[in-house]
């Protein structure tokens, strides 16, 4: 009990230290940015952190800002979710059948190596610009989800699977006790990497497709009218949304995984 309490205090101290370190790292790069602004002295090329912050405050006041965020976020998340589920299903099928793996694997390699811009331009021919970011996010996430989850499944402990076979353990029990704990770290990695990719590629698709009331269109217009502060502001907003959402999702998965591995009731 005393040992556990001691460990908890140590963890809290470490967490606090970690936050302080992160704050100073953030402050350091902010100062570098400010210094670069002072040296360049051209707001048109590089606006200062302060003016970008003011631009964000101005943007936040406009209803179109929230509408754009909602539209873009929703489309990208739909694409991410569909891509993730499709990749996971293909990974399970490939794990179960070597033939399916041989069929799917080259397709995944092609998707991975094709430049996003090629997909975006091709996709514009096939579908409306409004749904472009869904398709692009989907395409970017499928191979990430596929390869991570397949790797996770392949890393499942063979000896535990043998144990399951000898004890005639049902499929669901095997999934619960053996597969999920093995796949969990790879799932977190796939979500973390996949979300980052889907936001980047989804916004890129919007910049090219320019659907109404979207982050991509706002970025494009900011660039077109040389509204550099707004361009930086939108970029900062995209980074904040992407990082926040990734952290929330990863935390939820980790929390579920932690509970999963530590619940002592079957």
């Amino acid at each position: 009990m005393v040992k556990e309490a001691g460990q908890n205090t140590d963890n809290k101290v470490n967490k606090k230290k970690n936050y302080i370190t992160k704050f100073f790292v953030f402050l350091f790069w902010l100062l570098v940015w400010e210094a670069a602004c002072v040296i360049i002295d051209q707001e048109l090329f590089l606006p200062s952190p302060g003016s970008v912050l003011l631009a964000i405050i101005e943007l936040v006041k406009k209803p179109v800002f929230w509408l754009s965020i909602f539209n873009s976020f929703l489309r990208i998340i739909i694409g991410f979710f569909l891509g993730f589920v499709t990749g996971a299903l293909l990974a399970v099928l490939s794990y179960r059948s070597g033939l399916i793996y041989e069929l799917i694997s080259p397709l995944m390699k092609i998707i991975k190596s094709t430049p996003v811009a090629s997909f975006i331009i091709l996709a514009l021919v096939w579908i409306s610009s409004k749904n472009l970011s869904i398709l692009i996010s989907f395409l970017m996430v499928v191979p990430i989800s596929f390869s991570n989850l397949l790797y996770g499944l392949k890393s499942t402990d063979e000896k535990l699977l043998e144990m399951a076979k000898v004890f005639r353990m049902g499929r669901w029990k095997q999934v619960k006790a053996i597969y999920i704990p093995a796949v969990l770290p790879f799932l977190v990695s796939a979500v973390s990497v996949g979300l980052g990719f889907s936001f980047k590629s989804g916004i890129a698709a919007e910049v090219i497709g320019r659907p109404a009331n979207s982050i991509g269109l706002s970025l494009y217009e900011a660039k077109l009218y040389l509204m550099i502060k707004e361009l930086f502001a939108w970029t900062a907003v995209i980074i904040i949304i992407s990082v926040l959402f990734e952290k929330i999702v990863v935390r939820i998965i980790r929390h579920c995984g932690y509970n999963y591995e530590n619940i002592n009731k079957p």
């Binding site: 000896k159 535990l160 043998e162 144990m163 076979k165 000898v166 004890f167 005639r168 353990m169 029990k173 006790a177 053996i178 704990p181 591995e261 530590n262 002592n264 009731k265 079957p266």
Partner: protein
């Protein structure tokens, strides 16, 4: 019905591990297999369990029989506690209270709500033994089940195994003749790769 192993041979990557092995395990009896390391005892156990396919030969008397096992490694779900590990494979009529009673019977204390990962080797071994004994089985195969247990504890665990396996067919791989005596078991010694008993 006895279990008959007839002319079993197995090789891995060109190296012959078992060659024309034949032996009989008496129904309802404990039979120990002894032999030098690397002679193929675990390979034979894996063939009987159906985890490895023999290159040639047959096994009779296992048709429709349920097998339980204590593996050479414990093969427990590391992040789960002892009770949860046992409940994963135990018979439907087994309650948590009965599991606690069984674990305490072989001297296991201070294991509750702890992942088996944090238990000592001897404790984990006993969890694996209780798991095997509380599962639904006709034939029990134990690969060096008492390794890592001190002599007093070993006697306690052996008495427990004898009591729990009464009337069941049990095959135990061991290196220790004392264990064979304590189990009042029949003994098969594997001395070469080609034995007939």
């Amino acid at each position: 019905m006895d279990i008959k192993v007839v002319n079993i041979s197995k090789s891995f990557k060109g190296q012959q591990v078992l060659e024309n092995i034949s032996m009989t395990f008496g129904s309802g009896k404990i039979t120990c297999i002894m032999g030098a390391s690397g002679i193929g005892k675990t390979t034979l156990a894996n063939i009987i369990m159906g985890l490895i396919k023999a290159d040639s030969g047959d096994i009779f008397g296992l048709e429709g029989k349920k097998i339980s096992a204590v593996f050479q490694e414990d093969r427990l779900i590391e992040h789960w506690d002892a009770v949860k590990n046992i409940m994963l494979v135990c018979r439907r009529d087994i309650t948590k209270e009965l599991i606690h009673k069984n674990l305490k019977e072989i001297g296991l204390t201070d294991y509750e709500n702890k992942p088996v990962l944090s238990l000592s080797g001897g404790m984990r071994r006993r969890v694996a033994i209780v798991r095997a004994l509380l599962s639904d089985y006709d034939v029990l195969i134990m690969d060096e089940p008492f390794k890592g247990l001190d002599s007093d504890l070993k006697k306690q665990v052996i008495d427990y195994v004898r009591k729990m396996t009464w009337g069941k067919t049990v095959i135990i791989i061991t290196h220790n003749k004392d264990e064979v005596d304590m189990l009042h078991a029949e003994l098969i010694t594997m001395e070469s790769k080609d034995i007939n008993l």
